[in-house]
Amino acid sequence: MIYGDKNTGIIMTGATGKQGAFHIALINEYARQVGGRGVVAGVSPGKGGQGVAGVPVYNSIRDALREHDASAAIVFVPAFAAGDSIMEAADAGLSLVVAITEHIPVHDSMRAISFARLNDCAVIGPNCPGLLSPGEVKMGIMPVHLSSRGHIGVISRSGTLTYEIVDQLTRAGLGQSTIVGIGGDPVIGQTFSDVLRKFEEDDQTRAVVLIGEVGGSLEEEGARSTELPIAAYIAGISAPPEKRMGHAGAIIEGGEGDARSKIERLKAMEVPVASRPSDIPAIIKKLL
């Protein structure tokens, strides 16, 4: 597993919102199943002293850290305040922030990610489902029932498409080491390259599925940076130019970032690219 394990203590910001409370319960249900720590505290400014889904709530991350040992935060606060929340976590000394929030203005993300880097804090997301190391730890909103523990790493810019592909891997008997949703925004913290570097140091991971989409060139940059066996799927071969396909980052701009040229560049690096999600398990089996 990468980024965290059973012993990782997690702080949830935006804990008292409906989504926050709901997901604390799911994360901690999973933590109980696997014998992990899960979310140890929630943070909502002005709501310190309350409790939510069985965990105490504090006014700030620093307040929570005085009472609890934690190294990661999951950010669930609304978009307008999410950049601030990422910076608060980095400033408090946490080493990992998973930012679930969607629709964060991109300048806020850029500032927060730069600030986090100054504090040696890795940001996953924003606009992501977080990560899941089956049997070990869940930091985010991924459904756990489709996954199984194994040796395949998964990195994806998407949410539900990841669940679809994880489901197909599991059905084909290919368990996962860690599944990382890096986010659908144009600017994200951990990119394919960063996560691949972590997977290279992870003994459990033997091959990686890279799930990309139109927009930018992070997929190619990632593939170029690694020695690991990888298989790719790129969504958006039918996407028209200059149209945002759901994700803020899924847009073909100035003739750049379209699926066909991405696929061609990946193939030129001898990365096998699946034409359909259902082709991925067979490609992975060949790589192992």
């Binding site: 964060i104 991109v106 949410g159």
Partner: protein, 361 residues
């Protein structure tokens, strides 16, 4: 959201970037009243959001004698298919040299990327391919509120120093307006100093609210209607309506339709929390497009309740057939509800897409 040239220029001017004297007219009859402020020779520029506007006949030279005729002709024209509703008339500049400057959000460095080249007035993407060394670049973390002097010196090289403040002010525009792109092409020098002869500004859709913009003009009417419900919707040219949850899964559904040689009519991502009412609105919205002959619904989620989704599809009460792939909580109950009402529920997205493509053939 993309701003039109005259809107971008007004914002550039606010931040101290010199722009040509000009006026916006919405009818040729307004012209005589407005040219009094301009020199005898001026430029007439169609305010349409299309690339290659000049080559398509959207920028014309004019003077006091023929200005009205030229403006009248331009108002009647389509520029790359877009009707001209507004025209910017501007003084003609005595240009000595053309440059290019832009500041954009860079996905790879996660910073602002500043580009400058001494070959202005060109298509920057073409230049990047043909002569990449002609473009000077600098990356700037947004934690800095101005461009450091060394960086400006590196960018400008031997270009006139008077362009430095223009680029500095362009960064102020970029920061103040939540820009994805702020571009001056061409940035010109004249005996009277530098000017932004053209201006491009794209504002982050996620920041429209705090920028005081209430309506995203880049969206079509149906796309805006979809936005009200929190859906992401894109109109396409085919006959298979598509509803999915999550952008990636919905795109993959579209791609699979193309793989089986079908054509999707739209992209609709219902987003998180697909409950009965949201699904009903999504189905109605897609079905309202007369070119839609069949709809594929592909929803996958841990917490999506399939029985709710099934009821949503049925309560939409539309005439086109709906082929459904649902995975999540209460799957069997969802299937029973759909079976009982004559809708087809398939076991995988693959099967659902194939059935939809067959249905329109």
């Amino acid at each position: 959201m993309k701003l039109l040239e005259y809107e971008a220029k007004a914002i550039f001017a606010e931040q101290g970037i010199p722009v040509p004297r000009g006026a916006v007219i919405r009818s040729p009859d307004e012209l005589p009243g407005r040219i009094a402020d301009l020199p005898p020779e001026f430029v007439v520029k169609a305010q349409v959001d299309v690339g290659g506007r000049g080559k398509a006949g959207g920028i014309l030279m004019a003077d006091r004698t023929n200005g009205e005729t030229i403006a009248r002709e331009l108002f009647g024209k389509l520029i790359r298919g877009v009707p001209v509703r507004e025209i910017l008339i501007e003084e003609r500049l005595a240009v000595t040299h053309e440059y290019y400057a832009s500041i954009a959000v860079d996905r790879s460095s996660k910073q602002a990327l500043i580009l400058f080249t001494e070959s202005g007035g060109v298509d920057i993407e073409t230049l990047a391919k043909e002569n990449p060394d002609a473009i000077r670049k600098a990356s700037l973390p947004l934690l800095l509120n101005q461009i450091p002097p060394f960086m400006l010196r590196d960018l400008l090289g031997s270009a006139p120093k008077e362009l430095g403040p223009v680029i500095q002010n362009l960064y102020r525009v970029f920061l103040a307006r939540d820009a994805l792109l702020a571009e001056i092409n061409p940035l010109v020098t004249t005996p009277g100093g530098p000017f932004a002869a053209d201006a491009k500004l794209i504002i982050d859709d996620n920041a429209l609210n705090r920028q005081g913009i209430t309506q995203n003009r880049d969206l079509t009417e149906r796309e805006r209607e979809a936005e009200k419900y929190g859906f992401s919707y894109v109109e396409l040219a085919g006959s298979i309506g598509v509803i999915g949850n999550g952008a990636g899964l919905t795109m993959a559904t579209l791609d699979l339709i193309e793989y089986y040689q079908g054509k999707a009519a739209n992209f609709l991502d219902v987003g998180g929390g697909a409950d009965q009412e949201r699904v009903m609105h999504a189905v109605r919205l897609v079905a309202a497009d007369p070119s839609v002959k069949v709809i594929v619904v592909n929803l996958l989620g841990g917490i999506t309740r399939c029985d709710d989704v099934a009821r949503g599809i049925i309560s939409a009460g539309i005439s086109q057939p709906v082929i459904v792939r649902l995975a999540g909580t209460n799957e069997d109950e969802g299937r029973k509800i759909l079976d009982g009402s004559g809708y087809r529920m398939m076991g995988s997205m693959e099967e659902a897409v194939r059935a939809a493509v067959e249905a329109v053939q």
